[in-house]
Point group: C2
Chain length 136, copies 2
């Protein structure tokens, strides 16, 4: 936010200076018209590229975003979602249990509930569904 204001402030300042510069040089006539026009053109060309790059950069990073609302919609609990994340990383029930300091039985319970809520038959299908719902 602060950065944006600073950038635009400098931009406006640059534009005003350019106006004055063009006015002065064109009136005195000591520099060729083409040269002045070229500088103006180049400056705004670069400004256009810069502005556009900033705005598109945000869109690009927005693409792999998780949809929190869908998680609540599916009524996934914290633990279930946590387990889902490990499942999607390719861990076995045993390995997940070790990571979370839980027994394999507990993980099985969570995965089972997970599959029902995601309407999946297998954990691989759960991964696919979760990804299409943008919750992982």
């Amino acid at each position: 936010m602060k950065k944006t204001i600073l950038v635009f402030g400098l931009l406006i300042l640059a534009i005003l200076l350019l106006f004055q510069f063009s006015k002065y040089t064109l009136n005195t006539g000591d520099i060729r018209t083409e040269f002045v026009v070229s500088i103006i053109a180049l400056t705004f060309f670069l400004i256009g590229i810069y502005i556009n790059k900033k705005s598109l950069h945000k869109k690009a990073s927005n693409l792999p975003e998780i949809d929190e609302s869908k998680i609540k919609e599916l009524e996934l609990t914290k633990r279930e979602y946590e387990v889902l994340q490990y499942v999607s990383k390719g861990l076995s029930n045993k390995e997940i249990g070790e990571k979370l300091f839980l027994s394999e039985s507990t993980i099985k319970t969570h995965v089972s509930n997970l599959l029902i809520k995601l309407n999946a038959k297998r954990r691989t299908q759960a991964i696919q569904i979760a990804k299409s719902l943008k919750i992982i």
Copy 2:
């Protein structure tokens, strides 16, 4: 390719016309300097945005691209890669067999070889690895 040439051709033409326009109006003095400078600035500003959008659009669509070279590098055969794709969609060995009109045994063989080549212990891990390698 043809489009690019056309666009740049028109661009150069526009620039030349603008040069002539600015020269003429500034010399005759019937239009104010600020106005001419503004038109030039705006034009190149828009050109900058346009060029940038085109080039960034390609990059954005390039992101979800499959890396054919990695598939050969891993020495995955056609069938194995085909099976891998179905695995990543969440199908069971039986279901994949039905899709490809093969027995479950055959799919098991392919999956086993797949896991070795991808250095994975489970099919879920294979999915994760394949995605990180951008081959699915």
